[in-house]
């Protein structure tokens, strides 16, 4: 593994990507000046109802998700700085097959939405937790934590069985994906940079490691989160939701349509129950599929995973999760609904 030192290589005195030429700093200044000069023109161009809606949704998705991402990178920084490598592995059962469900249940302890769990899962892998275990934590955390379950209970007052159904469906998704990764997953699918540690000189204070790791993760994951926000806003305006809702009244169609809607709407897992409950024309089962698929895979999450673990990983993991989540939701629905 190449050992790199982002910190050193990119110090002011260090070598920029294009030494002696234009650096990103000048590009940023130019972009800011251009944006200021063209402000009126930009506002004019965006003054179309659809574009206004899209830009509001874009800012809303970013603003809503940022606190949770910050929370996630702080935890990720704390894991990198204060948890000795190998300590987590000793806490978990030795056999990966057993550690996977344990990690899934541990997701209960991270009360955030999906944006928080991606950087945390990555740090877990760095600290020696087997990828399968970290991935099932990644999938379980946004869906089975108490905040999300309470929100689901409040939204579905008239159908309280949705809460255990969602819990079991999401946990099943996480555990099955963990086992599938144990069996079929290849370590080389995960980009090397995801597992690389920020190298620090010996004796660097742990708090500095904490701050630097959090900052690094925030900048990287933040960019991809924004990218996901762009997609979510575009789909929000381009996809005829009303038409999809009408189509979804049939159960089989409904399951497919709601699973796709969950992916493209990219709702925060604390809010999706309220959206699901408002689609009262649909039977409960498709709405359960919506709640189980949403926190496990959506466009925002796909962008984050591709950025964190690499595109080779995301293009395999996300589709697999999509189908496993639908199957798990149907199984949970058969038991509880």
């Amino acid at each position: 593994m190449t050992i790199t030192s982002e910190i050193r290589s990119s110090r002011p005195s260090g070598r920029g990507p294009l030494r002696g030429k234009v650096t990103s700093l000048e590009v940023l200044c130019l972009l800011l000046v251009l944006a200021l000069v063209l402000q009126d023109w930009l506002v004019g161009v965006l003054n179309v109802p659809q574009l206004r809606t899209a830009s509001t949704v874009f800012v809303a998705v970013c603003v809503q998700a940022m606190p949770f991402l910050v929370f996630g990178v702080l935890i990720s920084g704390a894991i990198a700085a204060f948890v000795p490598a190998g300590a987590l592995r000793r806490l978990l059962p030795n056999r990966t097959a057993l550690a996977v469900p344990v990690a899934g249940l541990a997701g209960v302890a991270l009360p955030g939405c999906e944006c928080a769990s991606v950087p945390v899962a990555r740090r877990l892998m760095q600290q020696g937790v087997p990828p399968a275990v970290a991935l099932s934590f990644l999938l379980a955390a946004p869906a089975v934590n108490p905040i999300v379950l309470v929100a689901t209970a409040v939204a579905f007052r008239d159908a309280p069985m949705m809460v255990p159904a969602r819990f079991v469906g999401s946990l099943l998704t996480a555990v099955v994906m963990g086992w599938l990764w144990t069996r079929f997953g290849k370590a080389e699918w995960i980009a090397e940079r995801a597992l690389r540690k920020l190298e620090e000189k010996e004796g660097t204070s742990r708090w500095l490691v904490f701050a630097e790791t959090a900052r690094h993760d925030l900048v990287e994951a933040g960019g991809f989160l924004v990218l996901g926000g762009v997609f979510a806003a575009a789909f929000n305006v381009l996809v005829p939701t009303a038409w999809l809702e009408a189509l979804g009244t049939q159960v089989v169609f409904g399951v497919i349509v709601m699973a796709l809607l969950a992916v493209i709407l990219a709702l925060c897992s604390e809010a999706d129950a309220f959206v699901a409950v408002s689609m009262s024309a649909l039977p409960l089962l498709p709405r359960l599929v919506f709640l189980v698929v949403g926190p496990a895979v959506d466009v925002k999450l796909f962008a984050l995973q591709a950025g964190t673990f690499g595109r080779r990983f995301a293009s395999r993991f996300a589709p697999a999760t999509f189908f496993v989540a639908i199957a798990s939701a149907l199984a949970a629905g058969a038991v509880f609904l």
Partner: protein
């Protein structure tokens, strides 16, 4: 992307979050309850960037040599991770959106994207409380629509009600509408009441209004997709409220 540029972007983004939360602009995008979290997130972003900048300034001198020594390793890293290092540029988009464009709260366009009328969809389990007395009853659109759809006692018939919302037009019909959000504007769902009578023709779409009038009894049925009809006796334009959403 250079580390200094990343830090500047982080400060800008943190500043954008702080600006939103201190000016009530955040209410266009998220619920009021998120304000403390937004302030904390913005502060943490700025703090992390400031720590990194301070550290760079302090360490600039003694890295001069190590940077050259470690130059080779850094080269191979850059070739490998070049794609990833461009992602932070995306952080500029929300910064520009907030500071330059500051998109307005959602309005008529969003209402017309769906045929749903959200409020009536959750049936009240424990019945409806008696309405307070008084000549004109101010009421949220959510409560109004829920009552017209589910309250069989006719408690609203012959009561004069005052509703607040914005004007929406679709296929010759004019509505007074609002959006309900449960987390952020991406999950907004419409609540609307059809207006009959007169006075609203001149109002532009998206204009905020207070309408006084009476419900047409039995107008919120399955055939009308539970959109009640409201006979307008008086309509007045008002300024856009700070929090445009109902929950």
């Amino acid at each position: 992307m250079r580390r200094e540029t990343q830090n500047i972007l982080l400060i800008l983004l943190g500043g954008a979050l702080l600006k939103l939360s201190f000016t009530d602009m955040y209410l266009r995008y998220v619920k009021a309850g998120l304000q403390p979290l937004l302030i904390a997130a913005g502060a943490v972003m700025i703090l992390l960037a400031v720590i990194a900048i301070a550290r760079d300034l302090k360490g600039a001198k003694d890295t001069e040599d190590t940077a050259h020594a470690g130059g080779h390793a850094a080269d191979s890293h850059d070739a490998h991770g070049h794609k990833a290092s461009r992602s932070p540029w995306m952080l500029l988009l929300p910064v520009l959106a907030v500071f330059l464009i500051s998109p307005p709260a959602l309005g008529a366009d969003t209402v017309n994207r769906s045929d749903r009328n959200a409020a009536q969809e959750t049936k009240k389990g424990n019945g409806f409380a008696a309405l307070p007395a008084g000549d004109v009853l101010p009421m949220s659109l959510t409560e109004f629509v829920t009552r017209t759809a589910w309250d069989d006692s006719g408690s609203l018939d012959d009561r004069t009600v005052k509703l607040t919302g914005f004007v929406v037009r679709k296929n010759d019909a004019t509505y007074v509408a609002r959006l309900a959000i449960s987390c952020c504007a991406a999950d907004a769902s419409p609540i609307k009441v059809r207006m009959t009578g007169s006075g609203f023709e001149a109002m532009p779409t998206d204009q905020w209004v207070e309408v006084t009038g009476k419900v047409v009894p039995g107008s919120a049925t399955k055939d009308t997709a539970y959109v009640p009809t409201f006979t307008v006796s008086d309509i007045a334009p008002i300024a856009t409220p700070t929090d445009t959403y109902e929950s």
